[in-house]
C-alpha cells in the first residue's frame, strides 16, 4: 500500500516566520504534489514535481517555494509566512500524471499568527 508521510503534523508560527513542511513517499512514485485544503475551496494544487530536481507550478503558488531533493522527498517552503497561509496542507504522490490515483499523506495543520 502507498505510504506518504508528512511532518510535522501541526505547526504554529508567526507572521514573517520561516516554515518548512516535509513529505516522504516510499512507493517509488514519480509524481509528488503539495495541496492546501480550505473550507469552501476543497483541495488546491500549490506545486508538483515529476522527479528529483524538477518543480512545476500549480494553481495557487504565490508565497510558496518547493524543492524535490530525491525521488522520495518533497519539501514545501514558506519563507515569509502570512496569516492567509493558515491551512491544512497535504502531500500526495502518484506513479504517473494521467489518470493515476493520488495517494495522500495525513496532512500538516499550519497556523500563522
Amino acid at each position: 500500500e502507498a505510504a506518504v508521510t508528512q511532518s510535522p503534523r501541526n505547526k504554529v508560527t508567526v507572521t514573517g516566520g520561516n516554515v518548512t513542511l516535509s513529505c516522504r513517499q516510499t512507493n517509488s512514485h514519480n509524481y509528488m504534489y503539495w495541496y492546501r485544503q480550505d473550507t469552501g475551496h476543497g483541495l488546491r494544487l500549490i506545486h508538483y514535481s515529476y522527479g528529483a530536481g524538477n518543480l512545476q507550478i500549480g494553481d495557487v503558488p504565490d508565497g510558496y517555494k518547493a524543492t524535490r531533493t530525491t525521488q522520495e522527498d518533497f519539501f514545501l517552503l514558506l519563507e515569509l509566512a502570512s496569516p492567509s497561509q493558515t491551512s491544512l496542507y497535504f502531500c500526495a504522490s502518484s506513479d504517473g500524471a494521467s489518470q493515476n490515483t493520488l495517494y495522500f499523506g495525513a496532512g500538516t495543520r499550519l497556523s500563522v499568527l
Binding site: G42, L43, F90, A106
Partner: protein, 113 residues
C-alpha cells in the same frame, strides 16, 4: 472560478438510507471523474471513479451516475452506515492539455445511527 461544484455542502442521513451527493462541472473536455473520501484527521483516499464513456459505475454500496449532456454526476451511497461519515470530494480531469485534477469543495456526510 470553480470548475467543479458540489452540493450540498453538508448532508445528514439516517443509517440505512441512501445518501445522494451531487457534482457538476463546466469544462466539456473533462473525461475522468474520481471521488475521494476523507475521514477526520486523515488525507483523502480514492473511493470510486468513472470515465465519461460510461454513465454508471458501481462498487458495492457506492454508485456514480454520470450525465454527460448536463455535465452532472452524483454519488449514491445505499444502506448508509455511520462508518460512511466523512467528507467526499468530487474531482475532474481533462482528456488533453492540463492533466491536473480539479477538486470540488466537498460534501460533509453524517450518518446518524
Amino acid at each position: 472560478q470553480q470548475q467543479v461544484r458540489q452540493s450540498p455542502q453538508s448532508l445528514t442521513v439516517w443509517e440505512g438510507e441512501t445518501a445522494i451527493l451531487n457534482c457538476s462541472y463546466e469544462d466539456s473536455t473533462f473525461n475522468y471523474f474520481p471521488w475521494y473520501q476523507q475521514f477526520p484527521g486523515e488525507g483523502p483516499a480514492l473511493l470510486i471513479s468513472i470515465r465519461s464513456v460510461s454513465d454508471k459505475k458501481e462498487d458495492g454500496r457506492f454508485t456514480i451516475f454520470f450525465n454527460k449532456r448536463e455535465k452532472k454526476l452524483s454519488l449514491h451511497i445505499t444502506d448508509s452506515q455511520p462508518g460512511d461519515s466523512a467528507t467526499y470530494f468530487c474531482a475532474a480531469r481533462a482528456s488533453s492539455g492540463s492533466w491536473q485534477l480539479i477538486f470540488g469543495s466537498g460534501t460533509q456526510l453524517t450518518v446518524m445511527p
